[in-house]
């Protein structure tokens, strides 16, 4: 964040994302209504158009995601947003965009599932965000904000990362973050380089060889080579890892949680610290790449782990993989459909600490 501190405004997480996208140089937005993310398209339907951008309410999430594919193939900063059932539909084009290496930004303000579930908070989409979600072996960069300010900051970062890696980026929030109002300092990022994507974007073949952006690679050996290239790229993303560590230095137990749950867990950790319990918090901010080494370093120091998430045990698999051979992690689930509170985390933390 630059030094000049801009005026603070009081906005919802959804609005912070929309504003972040605008200030990051968003040119095209495609979406389909679904709660709890509607403030994003509603905000952009005016503000983006006022700034000369394109807003399309698509006929479905399938279409919105393919519109995003088209706009990013043209090399402009473009975004879609949705919530869990809509993201399931977008997975079709997300897989194509990953295969075709297109710099799309996809926002998922997750809600409870399975099926239509509810419109309350949930982290049940961790797997579909982090493990690919659609068909084939691919990864998205996945950013998990915990506050409205972070939602703003990470949205700007999402566009930069998308172009840096030519890869789709997902912002994974939830109903709490989307609907919560907080004060945000909407700093102005540098405007994107007009030449970003100049080596691959589609602009018409005038004065150069024509370009093809595709994921169909039938010629012998070509798909395998492409997959090798993609895997190499995913490895290089490790340099983007972000994690918040809180009171871990002398902790015996590290609570691992992301997004809204990570933030609520922090309140619980803070309270228990006051009672003298040696607990800390690790809050992954990038879910892919996952901060495996940071957790492993803590494990090597002899710490125990408790993963808290609002699902039936998804991120805990990555925590366990990160510390395998050294330590293990307990797991506590807040059920999607319940509203989490810091108090209900206290007993599980005490139990893991005592165990």
């Amino acid at each position: 964040m630059p030094d000049s501190s801009p005026a603070r405004i009081f906005i919802k997480g959804n609005e912070a994302i929309a504003l972040g996208a605008l200030n990051a140089g968003l040119k095209c937005y495609f979406g389909y209504p679904i709660t709890p993310q509607n403030e994003i398209p509603e905000y952009l339907s005016k503000e983006l158009v006022d700034r000369g951008g394109q807003f399309v309410q698509a006929e479905s999430e399938l279409a919105a995601a393919s519109m995003l594919l088209g706009a990013t193939a043209a090399g402009v900063r473009a975004m879609t947003s949705s919530s869990s059932p809509g993201i399931s539909l977008k997975q079709e084009a997300i897989s194509y965009m990953a295969g075709s290496e297109l710099p799309a930004v996809i926002v998922n303000m997750a809600r409870g599932g399975p099926g239509l579930g509810d419109i309350g908070p949930s982290q049940g989409d961790y797997f579909q965000a982090v493990k690919g979600g659609g068909h084939g072996d691919y990864k998205l960069l996945v950013l998990a904000p915990g506050t409205c300010q972070e939602a703003y900051d990470l949205t700007i970062k999402a566009f930069d990362l998308a172009f840096k890696y030519r890869n789709p980026v997902m912002i994974l929030g939830d109903a709490i973050l989307g609907q919560m109002k907080e004060s945000v300092s909407p700093w102005e990022p540098a405007q994107p380089d007009p030449d970003e994507g100049a080596s691959w974007r589609l602009t018409g073949a005038k004065g150069r060889k024509h370009r093809i952006l595709r994921s169909l690679l039938l010629e012998e050996g070509v798909l395998a080579a492409h997959n090798r290239h993609l895997q190499q790229k995913y490895k290089e993303m490790a340099q983007e890892i972000l994690i918040e560590l809180f009171e871990v230095d002398d902790a015996d137990l590290v609570v691992v949680g992301y997004g809204s749950i990570g933030r609520i867990a922090k309140s619980a950790v803070r309270k228990l610290r006051k009672e003298g319990l040696k607990v800390g918090l690790a809050r992954p901010v990038t879910l892919f790449p996952f901060p495996a080494q940071a957790l492993r370093d803590l494990a090597v120091q002899g710490k125990r782990f408790l993963t808290i998430e609002q699902n039936l045990g998804q991120m805990v698999e990555d925590v366990r993989l990160s510390i395998r051979g050294v330590a293990d992690s307990d797991q506590f689930s807040v059920y999607p459909g319940d509203l989490p509170s810091p108090e209900e985390f206290e007993d599980p933390i005490r139990n893991s600490l005592g165990g």
Binding site: Q54, L62, L69, G70, A74, S100, L202, R214
Partner: protein
């Protein structure tokens, strides 16, 4: 004495890539017409093609034109995204009947209804060519395919969908026509229809659509000549040729 005059050459906008289409396949004819128009209208270096999933998926190999590949049926949505991002480019989709009239029905209807400034070439060969000749939404009643081996039956599978008629009802459509390429006369008409559909985009009038009744001799299990004859005897009576909507004509009236 005689003078040699070259009257037929390789369109400049086409590559030298060998064509993978079967003998007698009308995709090749449609490609040729498209290439001639790209040349004549000076569009090749500003065009962005959106290819679909079907036998024409390799479209990008044949044109010296920027191209992005869309998921099955979603080409009109992808084209919407391209055109919104680059309004100064000429954007077109090229889609088969399984792609456009089945899995992509929603995308084509809404792209047309929004009046996106894009053009769609729709190749209706009454089957899913690429996957081996299964029934399409355009398969004729009684026509045998690998998934309606007894012939398409109206009670079970519904009737063939007439896309051009449907689309011509939508407000955003500036031009909609159905053509065939089964003889020279029809090829010439097809080219003029495609030119008009492209002009609708270039003149910012709305969405342009041309349906081409096309032969798939391989999956029809016919010779190319029999396939051409089938277009005249069976398809055209059900899928009438003609211009179903032309906003420039309506304005002229």
């Amino acid at each position: 004495m005689y003078q040699e005059e070259l009257v037929f050459g390789h369109p400049a906008s086409m590559t030298d890539h060998y064509m993978h289409y079967c003998p007698g396949c009308h995709h090749g004819v449609a490609h040729r017409i498209l290439a001639e128009l790209l040349d004549e209208m000076g569009l090749a270096d500003q065009a962005i093609a959106v290819s679909s999933i079907g036998c024409s998926v390799f479209l990008y190999d044949y044109y010296k034109v920027d191209c992005v590949e869309a998921p099955h049926g979603r080409a009109p949505a992808a084209a919407t995204g391209v055109k919104r991002a680059r309004p100064d480019n000429f954007v077109f989709t090229y889609q088969g009947d399984g792609d456009l009239a089945s899995i992509g029905m929603a995308e084509i209807m809404h792209c047309a209804n929004r009046g996106e400034r894009v053009s769609t070439v729709f190749v209706n060969n009454t089957v899913y060519g690429m996957t081996g000749g299964q029934m399409a939404p355009t398969t004729m009643l009684g026509q045998k395919t690998t998934t309606c081996p007894g012939g398409r039956c109206q009670e079970r599978e519904g009737s063939p969908i007439r896309m051009t008629e449907l689309l011509s009802q939508l407000g955003g459509v500036a031009y909609a026509a159905r053509v065939a390429v089964n003889n020279v006369k029809n090829v010439k008409k097809a080219k003029e229809a495609m030119r008009k559909a492209f002009q609708a985009q270039l003149e910012d009038r709305g969405f342009g659509f041309v349906e081409i009744l096309a032969a798939c001799p391989t999956n029809w299990k016919m010779t190319p000549i029999e396939a051409n004859e089938r277009i005249a005897s069976e398809l055209i009576p059900y899928f009438p040729l003609g211009v179903f909507k032309d906003v420039s004509q309506e304005e002229a009236c």
